[in-house]
Protein backbone atom coordinates (compact mmCIF):
# COMPACT_ATOMS: atom_id res chain seq x y z
CA UNK A 1 0.00 0.00 0.00
CA UNK A 2 2.81 2.43 0.87
CA UNK A 3 4.35 1.73 -2.52
CA UNK A 4 1.07 2.59 -4.23
CA UNK A 5 0.78 5.81 -2.24
CA UNK A 6 4.37 6.75 -3.14
CA UNK A 7 3.67 6.12 -6.82
CA UNK A 8 0.50 8.17 -6.57
CA UNK A 9 2.41 11.03 -4.94
CA UNK A 10 4.95 10.90 -7.78
CA UNK A 11 2.12 11.05 -10.32
CA UNK A 12 0.62 14.01 -8.47
CA UNK A 13 3.91 15.90 -8.46
CA UNK A 14 4.46 15.17 -12.17
CA UNK A 15 0.93 16.37 -12.95
CA UNK A 16 1.40 19.57 -10.95
CA UNK A 17 4.74 20.29 -12.66
CA UNK A 18 3.22 19.57 -16.07
CA UNK A 19 0.33 21.88 -15.34
CA UNK A 20 2.57 24.68 -14.09
CA UNK A 21 4.73 24.44 -17.21
CA UNK A 22 1.70 24.66 -19.49
CA UNK A 23 0.33 27.52 -17.41
CA UNK A 24 3.63 29.39 -17.71
CA UNK A 25 3.84 28.87 -21.49
CA UNK A 26 0.22 29.92 -21.96
CA UNK A 27 0.71 32.93 -19.74
CA UNK A 28 3.86 34.09 -21.52
CA UNK A 29 2.33 33.65 -24.95
CA UNK A 30 -0.83 35.46 -23.97
CA UNK A 31 1.12 38.25 -22.31
CA UNK A 32 3.28 38.74 -25.38
CA UNK A 33 0.37 38.90 -27.78
CA UNK A 34 -1.62 41.15 -25.48
CA UNK A 35 1.36 43.49 -25.08
CA UNK A 36 1.91 43.75 -28.81
CA UNK A 37 -1.75 44.38 -29.55
CA UNK A 38 -2.09 46.95 -26.75
CA UNK A 39 1.09 48.73 -27.86
CA UNK A 40 -0.21 49.04 -31.43
CA UNK A 41 -3.85 49.82 -30.71
CA UNK A 42 -3.60 51.57 -27.31
CA UNK A 43 -6.81 49.84 -26.24
CA UNK A 44 -6.19 48.47 -22.72
CA UNK A 45 -9.43 46.51 -22.30
CA UNK A 46 -8.68 44.69 -25.57
CA UNK A 47 -5.30 43.79 -24.17
CA UNK A 48 -6.79 42.35 -21.01
CA UNK A 49 -9.38 40.45 -22.97
CA UNK A 50 -6.71 38.94 -25.24
CA UNK A 51 -4.57 38.09 -22.24
CA UNK A 52 -7.23 35.94 -20.67
CA UNK A 53 -8.78 34.59 -23.86
CA UNK A 54 -5.55 33.54 -25.54
CA UNK A 55 -4.14 32.31 -22.25
CA UNK A 56 -7.20 30.16 -21.63
CA UNK A 57 -7.34 28.71 -25.17
CA UNK A 58 -3.62 28.01 -25.22
CA UNK A 59 -3.78 26.32 -21.86
CA UNK A 60 -6.64 24.05 -22.96
CA UNK A 61 -4.96 23.12 -26.26
CA UNK A 62 -1.60 22.41 -24.64
CA UNK A 63 -3.20 20.47 -21.79
CA UNK A 64 -5.05 18.20 -24.23
CA UNK A 65 -2.23 17.70 -26.69
CA UNK A 66 0.49 17.07 -24.11
CA UNK A 67 -1.66 14.66 -22.06
CA UNK A 68 -1.96 16.83 -18.97
CA UNK A 69 -5.71 16.22 -18.59
CA UNK A 70 -5.09 12.54 -19.10
CA UNK A 71 -2.57 12.58 -16.25
CA UNK A 72 -5.03 14.48 -14.08
CA UNK A 73 -7.73 11.92 -14.75
CA UNK A 74 -5.31 9.09 -14.05
CA UNK A 75 -4.36 10.74 -10.76
CA UNK A 76 -8.01 11.09 -9.71
CA UNK A 77 -8.78 7.48 -10.64
CA UNK A 78 -5.77 6.09 -8.77
CA UNK A 79 -6.52 8.31 -5.79
CA UNK A 80 -10.05 7.01 -5.59
CA UNK A 81 -8.93 3.41 -5.98
CA UNK A 82 -6.64 3.80 -2.97
CA UNK A 83 -8.49 6.25 -0.72
CA UNK A 84 -12.11 5.49 -1.57
CA UNK A 85 -12.38 1.91 -2.80
CA UNK A 86 -10.12 0.45 -0.12
CA UNK A 87 -11.92 2.07 2.88
CA UNK A 88 -15.26 1.01 1.37
CA UNK A 89 -13.99 -2.56 1.03
CA UNK A 90 -12.78 -2.49 4.62
CA UNK A 91 -16.20 -1.31 5.81
CA UNK A 92 -18.49 -3.37 3.58
CA UNK A 93 -16.45 -6.24 2.15
CA UNK A 94 -17.01 -6.78 -1.57
CA UNK A 95 -17.90 -3.53 -3.35
CA UNK A 96 -18.12 -2.58 -7.02
CA UNK A 97 -16.73 0.85 -7.95
CA UNK A 98 -16.98 2.77 -11.19
CA UNK A 99 -15.67 6.27 -10.55
CA UNK A 100 -16.21 7.49 -14.11
CA UNK A 101 -19.91 6.69 -14.14
CA UNK A 102 -22.79 7.10 -11.75
CA UNK A 103 -26.51 6.48 -11.54
CA UNK A 104 -28.19 6.93 -14.90
CA UNK A 105 -30.38 9.95 -15.49
CA UNK A 106 -33.31 7.71 -16.45
CA UNK A 107 -33.38 6.07 -13.05
CA UNK A 108 -33.47 9.41 -11.25
CA UNK A 109 -35.92 10.91 -13.70
CA UNK A 110 -38.35 7.99 -13.35
CA UNK A 111 -38.59 8.44 -9.60
CA UNK A 112 -40.18 11.87 -10.19
CA UNK A 113 -38.66 12.97 -6.90
CA UNK A 114 -36.65 15.91 -8.17
CA UNK A 115 -36.76 18.54 -10.90
CA UNK A 116 -34.45 17.39 -13.66
CA UNK A 117 -33.23 20.54 -15.38
CA UNK A 118 -31.23 20.25 -18.62
CA UNK A 119 -27.78 19.36 -17.28
CA UNK A 120 -26.97 16.14 -15.50
CA UNK A 121 -23.59 15.04 -14.15
CA UNK A 122 -22.86 11.92 -12.19
CA UNK A 123 -19.80 9.99 -11.07
CA UNK A 124 -18.30 7.90 -8.26
CA UNK A 125 -20.70 4.97 -8.46
CA UNK A 126 -20.28 2.41 -5.68
CA UNK A 127 -22.40 -0.68 -5.09
CA UNK A 128 -22.22 -2.96 -2.08
CA UNK A 129 -24.16 -4.32 0.84
CA UNK A 130 -24.22 -3.89 4.61
CA UNK A 131 -26.00 -6.34 6.91
CA UNK A 132 -27.43 -7.94 3.74
CA UNK A 133 -28.99 -4.65 2.67
CA UNK A 134 -27.88 -3.79 -0.86
CA UNK A 135 -26.98 -0.18 -1.58
CA UNK A 136 -25.85 1.96 -4.50
CA UNK A 137 -24.48 5.49 -4.29
CA UNK A 138 -23.25 8.14 -6.69
CA UNK A 139 -22.56 11.85 -6.76
CA UNK A 140 -25.10 13.71 -8.84
CA UNK A 141 -25.40 17.29 -10.00
CA UNK A 142 -28.56 18.53 -11.70
CA UNK A 143 -28.75 22.02 -13.13
CA UNK A 144 -30.90 24.15 -15.36
CA UNK A 145 -29.02 26.44 -17.69
CA UNK A 146 -30.91 29.15 -19.50
CA UNK A 147 -29.63 31.63 -21.99
CA UNK A 148 -31.44 34.29 -23.98
CA UNK A 149 -28.53 35.49 -26.08
CA UNK A 150 -27.78 38.48 -23.88
CA UNK A 151 -27.36 36.76 -20.55
CA UNK A 152 -27.35 33.28 -19.13
CA UNK A 153 -28.02 31.77 -15.75
CA UNK A 154 -27.54 28.42 -14.15
CA UNK A 155 -29.64 27.13 -11.29
CA UNK A 156 -28.40 24.11 -9.39
CA UNK A 157 -31.33 21.91 -8.46
CA UNK A 158 -29.26 19.28 -6.73
CA UNK A 159 -25.58 18.74 -5.96
CA UNK A 160 -24.73 15.95 -3.60
CA UNK A 161 -25.00 12.25 -3.10
CA UNK A 162 -27.81 9.92 -4.04
CA UNK A 163 -28.29 6.59 -2.33
CA UNK A 164 -30.54 3.74 -3.42
CA UNK A 165 -31.18 1.05 -0.81
CA UNK A 166 -33.25 -2.09 -0.57
CA UNK A 167 -36.23 -1.63 1.72
CA UNK A 168 -37.54 -4.34 3.96
CA UNK A 169 -41.28 -3.74 3.51
CA UNK A 170 -43.27 -4.29 0.34
CA UNK A 171 -45.23 -1.28 -0.78
CA UNK A 172 -47.32 -0.50 -3.84
CA UNK A 173 -47.49 3.29 -3.91
CA UNK A 174 -44.94 6.07 -4.01
CA UNK A 175 -44.07 7.96 -0.86
CA UNK A 176 -41.91 11.06 -0.62
CA UNK A 177 -40.52 12.65 2.55
CA UNK A 178 -38.90 16.04 2.01
CA UNK A 179 -36.79 17.66 4.70
CA UNK A 180 -37.41 21.38 5.23
CA UNK A 181 -34.76 23.26 3.27
CA UNK A 182 -34.69 20.79 0.39
CA UNK A 183 -35.92 22.83 -2.56
CA UNK A 184 -36.46 21.77 -6.17
CA UNK A 185 -38.09 18.49 -5.26
CA UNK A 186 -40.83 17.30 -7.58
CA UNK A 187 -43.91 16.62 -5.55
CA UNK A 188 -46.35 15.51 -8.30
CA UNK A 189 -48.94 17.26 -6.23
CA UNK A 190 -50.69 19.33 -8.87
CA UNK A 191 -54.33 18.67 -9.81
CA UNK A 192 -53.12 18.56 -13.44
CA UNK A 193 -51.48 15.22 -12.77
CA UNK A 194 -53.70 12.18 -13.16
CA UNK A 195 -55.09 10.76 -9.93
CA UNK A 196 -53.23 7.50 -10.49
CA UNK A 197 -49.84 9.25 -10.26
CA UNK A 198 -50.68 12.19 -8.05
CA UNK A 199 -49.16 12.45 -4.57
CA UNK A 200 -51.18 13.98 -1.76
CA UNK A 201 -49.83 15.91 1.19
CA UNK A 202 -50.10 13.88 4.38
CA UNK A 203 -50.03 15.21 7.92
CA UNK A 204 -48.64 12.67 10.37
CA UNK A 205 -49.59 12.60 14.03
CA UNK A 206 -46.12 13.73 15.18
CA UNK A 207 -46.12 17.55 15.37
CA UNK A 208 -42.32 17.90 15.40
CA UNK A 209 -42.01 15.52 12.46
CA UNK A 210 -44.50 17.62 10.49
CA UNK A 211 -42.42 20.73 11.25
CA UNK A 212 -39.23 19.11 9.90
CA UNK A 213 -40.64 17.17 6.96
CA UNK A 214 -43.30 17.37 4.28
CA UNK A 215 -44.83 14.04 3.33
CA UNK A 216 -46.42 13.35 -0.05
CA UNK A 217 -47.91 9.97 -0.89
CA UNK A 218 -50.12 8.33 -3.47
CA UNK A 219 -51.86 6.41 -0.72
CA UNK A 220 -52.45 7.61 2.85
CA UNK A 221 -52.55 4.14 4.38
CA UNK A 222 -49.17 3.19 2.88
CA UNK A 223 -47.68 6.41 4.28
CA UNK A 224 -48.77 5.42 7.79
CA UNK A 225 -47.64 1.83 7.16
CA UNK A 226 -44.11 2.88 6.28
CA UNK A 227 -43.83 5.87 8.62
CA UNK A 228 -44.19 4.08 11.94
CA UNK A 229 -43.54 6.16 15.09
CA UNK A 230 -40.09 4.55 15.40
CA UNK A 231 -39.29 5.37 11.77
CA UNK A 232 -40.32 8.98 12.30
CA UNK A 233 -38.11 9.21 15.40
CA UNK A 234 -35.17 7.89 13.38
CA UNK A 235 -35.79 10.46 10.64
CA UNK A 236 -35.93 13.27 13.20
CA UNK A 237 -32.53 12.15 14.54
CA UNK A 238 -31.16 12.00 11.01
CA UNK A 239 -32.33 15.54 10.35
CA UNK A 240 -29.98 16.76 13.11
CA UNK A 241 -26.98 14.67 12.02
CA UNK A 242 -27.06 14.64 8.22
CA UNK A 243 -24.52 16.87 6.45
CA UNK A 244 -27.05 18.45 4.11
CA UNK A 245 -30.75 18.88 3.44
CA UNK A 246 -32.21 15.56 2.44
CA UNK A 247 -35.19 13.85 0.94
CA UNK A 248 -36.37 10.26 0.97
CA UNK A 249 -38.40 8.54 -1.69
CA UNK A 250 -39.98 5.11 -1.59
CA UNK A 251 -40.33 4.08 -5.21
CA UNK A 252 -40.68 0.58 -6.69
CA UNK A 253 -39.76 -1.14 -3.41
CA UNK A 254 -36.53 0.82 -3.12
CA UNK A 255 -35.58 3.63 -0.79
CA UNK A 256 -33.94 6.64 -2.45
CA UNK A 257 -32.05 9.07 -0.23
CA UNK A 258 -30.93 12.34 -1.78
CA UNK A 259 -28.56 14.43 0.34
CA UNK A 260 -27.94 17.94 -0.95
CA UNK A 261 -24.39 18.56 0.28
CA UNK A 262 -23.69 21.27 -2.31
CA UNK A 263 -20.37 19.68 -3.25
CA UNK A 264 -18.85 16.76 -5.11
CA UNK A 265 -17.58 14.54 -2.33
CA UNK A 266 -14.39 12.49 -2.32
CA UNK A 267 -12.63 14.57 -5.00
CA UNK A 268 -8.87 14.79 -4.48
CA UNK A 269 -6.94 18.03 -4.35
CA UNK A 270 -4.07 18.18 -6.79
CA UNK A 271 -2.15 20.60 -4.61
CA UNK A 272 -2.20 18.57 -1.38
CA UNK A 273 0.16 15.70 -0.73
CA UNK A 274 -1.50 12.27 -0.84
CA UNK A 275 0.77 11.07 1.95
CA UNK A 276 -1.48 12.99 4.28
CA UNK A 277 -4.87 12.54 2.64
CA UNK A 278 -8.08 14.07 3.92
CA UNK A 279 -10.28 11.03 4.42
CA UNK A 280 -13.05 12.96 6.15
CA UNK A 281 -15.35 12.86 3.13
CA UNK A 282 -14.90 9.12 2.62
CA UNK A 283 -15.49 8.35 6.30
CA UNK A 284 -18.59 10.53 6.22
CA UNK A 285 -19.85 8.64 3.17
CA UNK A 286 -19.36 5.28 4.83
CA UNK A 287 -20.89 6.43 8.11
CA UNK A 288 -23.91 7.88 6.32
CA UNK A 289 -24.69 4.55 4.67
CA UNK A 290 -24.21 2.63 7.93
CA UNK A 291 -26.22 5.22 9.85
CA UNK A 292 -29.17 5.10 7.45
CA UNK A 293 -29.33 1.29 7.42
CA UNK A 294 -28.97 1.04 11.22
CA UNK A 295 -31.24 3.95 12.19
CA UNK A 296 -34.03 2.94 9.82
CA UNK A 297 -33.63 -0.77 10.66
CA UNK A 298 -33.42 -1.69 6.99
CA UNK A 299 -31.78 -4.97 7.96
CA UNK A 300 -34.92 -6.07 9.82
CA UNK A 301 -35.78 -8.99 7.55
CA UNK A 302 -38.98 -10.30 9.10
CA UNK A 303 -40.85 -9.57 5.89
CA UNK A 304 -38.39 -11.35 3.58
Amino acid sequence: MNEKISRLEELREKTVKHMLIILSISGLLALSIAFVVTARSYIMPLGFFLLFFIGFITFIILAYTTGCFKKLKEFKTQYKKIFVEVPFQQAFGQVFCDFDNGISQDIISQTKLIMMGNRYYTNDYIRGSYKNVGFERADIKIQRHTSNGKSSSTVTYFNGRWLILEFNKKFHFDLQIIGKGFYYSQKNHSFLISEKHRRYKIEMEDIRFNQLFNVYAQNEHEAFYILTPQFMDALKDMYNTMDGDFMLGFIDNKLHVAIHTRKDAMEPSLFKSVKDPNLGDVKREINTIIHIIDELNLDRDIYK
Binding site: K169, E205, E220, H221, E222, F224, Y225, T228, Y303
Partner: protein, 180 residues
Protein backbone atom coordinates in the same frame (compact mmCIF):
# COMPACT_ATOMS: atom_id res chain seq x y z
CA UNK B 1 -76.12 54.75 -2.95
CA UNK B 2 -75.89 51.51 -4.92
CA UNK B 3 -72.62 50.71 -3.11
CA UNK B 4 -74.40 50.88 0.23
CA UNK B 5 -76.81 48.20 -0.97
CA UNK B 6 -74.10 46.17 -2.71
CA UNK B 7 -71.78 45.86 0.31
CA UNK B 8 -74.13 43.78 2.52
CA UNK B 9 -74.93 41.56 -0.46
CA UNK B 10 -71.24 41.01 -1.15
CA UNK B 11 -70.64 40.28 2.53
CA UNK B 12 -73.50 37.80 2.63
CA UNK B 13 -72.19 36.11 -0.49
CA UNK B 14 -68.72 35.73 1.04
CA UNK B 15 -70.18 34.25 4.22
CA UNK B 16 -72.33 31.90 2.14
CA UNK B 17 -69.33 30.68 0.11
CA UNK B 18 -67.29 30.21 3.28
CA UNK B 19 -70.14 28.27 4.91
CA UNK B 20 -70.52 25.93 1.94
CA UNK B 21 -66.78 25.30 1.57
CA UNK B 22 -66.40 24.63 5.32
CA UNK B 23 -69.36 22.28 5.29
CA UNK B 24 -67.95 20.40 2.27
CA UNK B 25 -64.56 20.17 3.90
CA UNK B 26 -66.06 18.71 7.09
CA UNK B 27 -68.12 16.21 5.08
CA UNK B 28 -65.02 15.17 3.11
CA UNK B 29 -63.17 14.58 6.36
CA UNK B 30 -66.05 12.38 7.51
CA UNK B 31 -65.76 10.33 4.33
CA UNK B 32 -62.02 9.93 4.91
CA UNK B 33 -62.72 8.74 8.43
CA UNK B 34 -65.18 6.16 7.11
CA UNK B 35 -62.56 5.09 4.58
CA UNK B 36 -60.01 4.66 7.35
CA UNK B 37 -62.54 2.65 9.37
CA UNK B 38 -63.01 0.39 6.41
CA UNK B 39 -59.22 -0.15 6.27
CA UNK B 40 -59.33 -1.15 9.94
CA UNK B 41 -62.10 -3.68 9.19
CA UNK B 42 -60.10 -5.11 6.29
CA UNK B 43 -57.01 -5.46 8.48
CA UNK B 44 -59.01 -7.08 11.29
CA UNK B 45 -60.54 -9.55 8.85
CA UNK B 46 -57.13 -10.37 7.38
CA UNK B 47 -55.74 -10.90 10.86
CA UNK B 48 -58.63 -13.21 11.70
CA UNK B 49 -58.05 -15.24 8.51
CA UNK B 50 -54.33 -15.63 9.11
CA UNK B 51 -54.84 -16.63 12.74
CA UNK B 52 -57.42 -19.20 11.60
CA UNK B 53 -54.82 -20.73 9.29
CA UNK B 54 -52.29 -20.80 12.13
CA UNK B 55 -54.77 -22.58 14.36
CA UNK B 56 -55.32 -25.13 11.62
CA UNK B 57 -51.63 -25.95 11.81
CA UNK B 58 -51.73 -26.02 15.61
CA UNK B 59 -54.77 -28.29 15.92
CA UNK B 60 -52.65 -31.42 16.35
CA UNK B 61 -51.03 -29.88 19.36
CA UNK B 62 -53.79 -28.12 21.23
CA UNK B 63 -56.66 -29.47 23.24
CA UNK B 64 -59.38 -27.13 22.01
CA UNK B 65 -60.73 -26.94 18.52
CA UNK B 66 -60.09 -23.69 16.71
CA UNK B 67 -63.80 -22.87 16.74
CA UNK B 68 -63.68 -22.63 20.52
CA UNK B 69 -60.87 -20.14 20.46
CA UNK B 70 -62.17 -18.00 17.64
CA UNK B 71 -65.94 -18.35 18.14
CA UNK B 72 -66.03 -15.36 20.49
CA UNK B 73 -64.58 -13.16 17.78
CA UNK B 74 -67.38 -11.76 15.68
CA UNK B 75 -66.40 -9.66 12.72
CA UNK B 76 -69.29 -8.22 10.77
CA UNK B 77 -70.09 -5.14 8.75
CA UNK B 78 -71.30 -2.06 10.59
CA UNK B 79 -69.50 -2.85 13.84
CA UNK B 80 -69.35 -0.14 16.47
CA UNK B 81 -65.98 1.15 17.70
CA UNK B 82 -66.41 -0.83 20.91
CA UNK B 83 -67.04 -4.02 18.91
CA UNK B 84 -63.88 -3.39 16.91
CA UNK B 85 -61.81 -2.83 20.03
CA UNK B 86 -63.21 -6.02 21.55
CA UNK B 87 -62.53 -8.01 18.38
CA UNK B 88 -58.97 -6.66 18.25
CA UNK B 89 -58.34 -7.58 21.88
CA UNK B 90 -59.71 -11.09 21.31
CA UNK B 91 -57.46 -11.51 18.28
CA UNK B 92 -54.51 -10.43 20.45
CA UNK B 93 -55.44 -13.16 22.92
CA UNK B 94 -55.68 -15.74 20.16
CA UNK B 95 -52.29 -14.67 18.78
CA UNK B 96 -50.65 -14.88 22.20
CA UNK B 97 -52.19 -18.31 22.74
CA UNK B 98 -50.84 -19.60 19.42
CA UNK B 99 -47.37 -18.25 20.22
CA UNK B 100 -47.51 -19.90 23.64
CA UNK B 101 -48.36 -23.25 22.00
CA UNK B 102 -45.51 -22.81 19.53
CA UNK B 103 -43.07 -22.17 22.40
CA UNK B 104 -44.06 -25.52 23.93
CA UNK B 105 -43.71 -27.46 20.67
CA UNK B 106 -40.40 -26.71 18.91
CA UNK B 107 -41.29 -28.84 15.88
CA UNK B 108 -44.33 -26.62 15.34
CA UNK B 109 -42.28 -23.46 15.76
CA UNK B 110 -39.69 -24.63 13.23
CA UNK B 111 -42.30 -25.63 10.64
CA UNK B 112 -41.94 -23.55 7.46
CA UNK B 113 -45.70 -23.04 7.10
CA UNK B 114 -45.98 -21.79 10.64
CA UNK B 115 -43.03 -19.44 10.20
CA UNK B 116 -44.50 -17.97 7.02
CA UNK B 117 -47.82 -17.41 8.74
CA UNK B 118 -46.05 -15.69 11.63
CA UNK B 119 -44.50 -13.32 9.10
CA UNK B 120 -47.96 -12.73 7.59
CA UNK B 121 -49.39 -12.00 11.03
CA UNK B 122 -46.67 -9.42 11.72
CA UNK B 123 -47.28 -7.75 8.39
CA UNK B 124 -51.04 -7.69 8.95
CA UNK B 125 -50.54 -6.25 12.44
CA UNK B 126 -48.40 -3.46 11.03
CA UNK B 127 -51.12 -2.71 8.48
CA UNK B 128 -53.67 -2.70 11.30
CA UNK B 129 -51.53 -0.25 13.27
CA UNK B 130 -51.22 1.96 10.18
CA UNK B 131 -54.99 1.87 9.62
CA UNK B 132 -55.61 2.68 13.29
CA UNK B 133 -53.15 5.61 13.26
CA UNK B 134 -54.61 6.95 10.02
CA UNK B 135 -58.13 6.72 11.46
CA UNK B 136 -57.06 8.50 14.68
CA UNK B 137 -55.25 11.19 12.72
CA UNK B 138 -58.34 11.91 10.60
CA UNK B 139 -60.60 11.85 13.67
CA UNK B 140 -58.26 14.25 15.44
CA UNK B 141 -58.47 16.68 12.52
CA UNK B 142 -62.26 16.48 12.45
CA UNK B 143 -62.63 16.86 16.21
CA UNK B 144 -60.30 19.85 16.25
CA UNK B 145 -62.37 21.57 13.59
CA UNK B 146 -65.61 20.77 15.43
CA UNK B 147 -64.41 22.51 18.59
CA UNK B 148 -62.55 25.42 16.94
CA UNK B 149 -64.20 28.68 15.99
CA UNK B 150 -65.50 29.51 13.35
CA UNK B 151 -65.80 26.01 11.86
CA UNK B 152 -67.62 24.96 15.07
CA UNK B 153 -70.58 27.07 13.96
CA UNK B 154 -70.91 25.11 10.72
CA UNK B 155 -70.34 21.77 12.48
CA UNK B 156 -73.10 22.51 15.00
CA UNK B 157 -75.51 23.65 12.31
CA UNK B 158 -75.14 20.41 10.31
CA UNK B 159 -75.27 18.24 13.42
CA UNK B 160 -71.69 16.99 13.39
CA UNK B 161 -70.37 15.54 16.61
CA UNK B 162 -66.93 14.36 17.71
CA UNK B 163 -65.94 10.84 16.68
CA UNK B 164 -64.29 8.38 19.04
CA UNK B 165 -60.64 7.40 18.69
CA UNK B 166 -59.56 3.81 18.23
CA UNK B 167 -57.81 3.56 21.57
CA UNK B 168 -56.02 0.69 23.22
CA UNK B 169 -58.33 -0.82 25.80
CA UNK B 170 -57.31 -0.62 29.45
CA UNK B 171 -57.26 -4.43 29.77
CA UNK B 172 -54.77 -4.68 26.90
CA UNK B 173 -52.28 -2.63 28.88
CA UNK B 174 -52.31 -5.35 31.54
CA UNK B 175 -50.87 -8.87 31.15
CA UNK B 176 -53.00 -10.95 28.81
CA UNK B 177 -54.85 -13.90 30.33
CA UNK B 178 -53.60 -16.99 28.55
CA UNK B 179 -56.36 -19.41 29.60
CA UNK B 180 -59.22 -20.53 27.39
Amino acid sequence: MPLVFALPIILLFIIFVWYISTMNSLRRTEVKIDEALSSIDVALTKRFDVLTKMLDICKNYIKYEKETILETIKLRTGMSMEDRKTANTDLDKANNFINAVAENYPELKSSENFRQLQVSVMEVEEHLQAARRLYNSNVSQLNQRIVSFPSSIVARSIGLSSRPFFEVEDNKKQDVDMSF
